[in-house]
Symmetry: C2
Subunit: 432 residues, 2 copies
């Protein structure tokens, strides 16, 4: 058997500790699978003395994570997070120095993946980030290796466990977003600052990574259209059910006329759709490929064990000599795709608006729709006696988002409309 | 870019044609992903002249598939099928000659996988069989690579699309097994000789392969306990629903006290279980791993496109220089595990029996259960007025299969029992 593969870890939070546990406690199994022993030799974190439940006394300590790039290690594992700052510096230094680099950092890859992949290839280092997308579900390896024979037509998924947990609880209990979020924060299921999760940014990072690999394109985080779940009301979850759907935060990317369309949005998916039944903090990803058809991958998208599982899988890949390009093809072969212009983005929509309960209100809404050239799949009207207001849920035929937004704006200007219309996506099984 | 990787294909049925289509029609994309061009140079099949919809005129033809092992090719792709005969001869000759060998042949691997893996390692050839299990779902790569950091606790799945299709139609239409099978054969969803599929043998081949990789064990097809779906009646599907379950043909392997338990059996899985909602000819596999938790993989398990997708993924792996052992660890490191003895196999069961509708019949069944020391989770009794018979569905507490079988035998001997009791498995989410 060969010499051990020497590992330096930057960041000793839960995931870092999870990686140490796997590599130390199951060293023999890992060595059998990797074809050689794997030895942690250097670590770096913010505080040294902290009790982490694992003994780090045998590793060389570095106060400065950037120093790992100069240490005698083969692979640097970055688990600090953040799209810039120390994580980016470490990535750049490591790859320039020809050291392999494994990270769980979706923000880093979403913003700097192309440059880092180019740097890795220049110095014949390997860049891996399985843990950055969907935690324990080996979805990047599935795309790069298992589905490598396919033309990917679309990728979509539930990419943020916190949002899926919040929507699941709202759906089960009819509770308001704010209350469920507060509970989730108390229970540790949501961060103290939940912005990246609930505003869809975390899901957008992951989607941009998946899209780049799926379509052989340079990563383009900036063109992802992003809506989070703050505006979702329990009545939307309820109406979705009545219409035969479930409401989920879905990230979706596909090609339209040679342009890349990427969006993260609260979306109605029909019962029977593989994403409709994904509950709690689970993640799931659906690829449509030619010739493979539809494949679905589901599992835990976060947490110590699942994320560490993915990090160690990358380390094993490197130990075996795996040196395939980070995004499936050489960085220079990744195409620079245009994004579909916002006004060209089409789809199906769910529009909910609450209006004063007065004579002729349905007529004025109907004429407004007509005036915007919008025809309807379904219209649901419900008033509550004595409350003086009535709710309309409209699902127009497939049309451009811009048309819906224009109509919604005009509608909002109607005196009878009591609150901002809610606009959600509908994604049927056979929609492009 | 390097020289082309030269491929010889034995067997030009639908899958072989699918492989040719991918490699010829998307050659540029495949070369970008593989890091080098891939060129088919030799082919062999039963008849040469047949119109297959692809042009094979540019390839060197071999009447004898075994001749491919002597041809100047790097990889031999075996798509003939059969656990012995020409497929085995070709595998042995190819691997001994140091040629890489890719196959979709589950019977071959289930019976000879250990010997072939040893032979491959002796001559530093690569053996790959992603397409042998679950068609287009890259589940072997997921196990060997994506989940490589884990201790696998159990693997279970819907591994045969024909059986799942038949059970889905029986469930939807209340139709009898024989009628649905005949329809499926007419429509081409089932083979003229459906034995391997409906008797569970095909699923058992796949399960044995997954179990070997999951538990780092020598493949042991002979110890798989196998029941097919011939005896399933539409009433069982209906009772399963009433009890909150779906009835599926499930293959399952897990370790009990250091021994390997593998079974294929019609099984009740609760609604909400990831396998319960898998319909039609789809396949799905669920792994329980430490530390990753539960991961689920779903997709098309058969057919030209999905199977060819998996075959070409293996070819790309080889083109990139992937040389990890076929079963995840070197063949010599695969343990020889004992199988759990039949009488030690425990579980939960569904027992249905039809008896004469006469006074005291419930009492005699109840006493018989008591005499065998079996206690009940639930008992469902239903008679149809005027028909003179009544059906009991019993779900005992967790117990040994042997106890249930002894009781069923004693019950069958009761004069009032009108037909052979049906015994099915129950597999709850949290059952070991």
């Amino acid at each position: 058997m060969q010499d051990p593969l020497k590992i330096g870890i930057a960041g000793l939070g839960t995931v870092g500790v999870g990686v140490i546990k796997i590599l130390e406690q199951t060293a023999e199994r890992i060595a059998a699978r990797a074809g050689r022993p794997i030895a942690i030799t250097h670590v770096s974190a913010r505080t040294r003395g902290k009790d982490r439940g694992v003994d780090i006394g045998g590793y060389t300590w570095c106060d400065d994570p950037g120093a790992l790039a100069d240490a005698p290690v083969d692979v640097i594992v970055e688990l600090m997070g953040g799209s810039d700052g120390p994580a980016l510096v470490l990535a750049q230094k490591s790859l320039s120095a020809g050291k392999h680099f494994v990270t769980a950092n979706k923000a880093l890859i979403a913003h700097h993946g192309q440059a880092l992949a180019e740097s890795a290839e220049r110095s014949k280092a390997v860049l891996r980030f399985e843990a950055a997308v969907a935690g324990g579900i080996p979805v990047i390896k599935a795309l790069c290796d298992g589905l490598a024979a396919n033309e990917i037509v679309s990728v979509q998924g539930i990419l943020n466990g916190t949002c899926n947990y919040i929507l699941s609880v709202m759906d089960q209990e009819g509770a308001d977003f704010g209350d469920v979020l507060a509970d989730a924060q108390r229970l540790g299921y949501a961060e103290a600052d939940p912005t990246f999760d609930i505003d869809g940014i975390d899901a957008a990072h992951k989607l941009a990574i998946l899209a780049a690999i799926s379509f052989g394109a340079q990563i383009d985080f900036d063109s992802v259209s992003v809506d989070g779940i703050r505006a979702v009301s329990p009545v939307d979850l309820d109406y979705a059910r009545q219409l035969g759907y479930r409401l989920k935060l879905i990230g979706r990317a596909h090609m339209v006329d040679g342009m890349l369309e990427q969006r993260v949005a609260p979306t109605l998916v029909p019962v029977g759709h593989p994403l409709a039944a994904v509950e709690d903090s689970f993640n799931a990803i659906v690829f449509e490929g030619v010739p493979v058809g539809q494949t679905v991958f589901e599992g835990r998208g976060a947490g110590e064990g699942p994320t560490a599982s993915a990090v160690v899988a990358d380390i094993i890949d490197i130990a075996r000599g795996g040196d395939a390009p980070a995004f499936g093809v050489p960085a220079a072969a990744l195409k620079k795709l245009s994004a579909t212009p916002t006004e060209a983005r089409q789809g199906r929509f769910y529009v909910r608006l609450t209006v004063e309960d007065e004579v002729g209100v349905a007529a004025s809404i109907a004429s407004l729709m007509r005036d915007h050239g919008i025809s309807m799949d379904s219209l649901l009207q419900r008033g509550e006696a004595g409350k003086g207001e009535v709710t309309f849920v409209l699902t127009p035929h497939r049309c451009a988002l811009s048309v819906i937004e224009a109509a919604a704006e005009a509608r909002a200007a109607l005196e009878v409309v009591l609150s901002k219309p809610a606009i959600l996506r509908i994604q049927d099984q056979d929609d492009v």
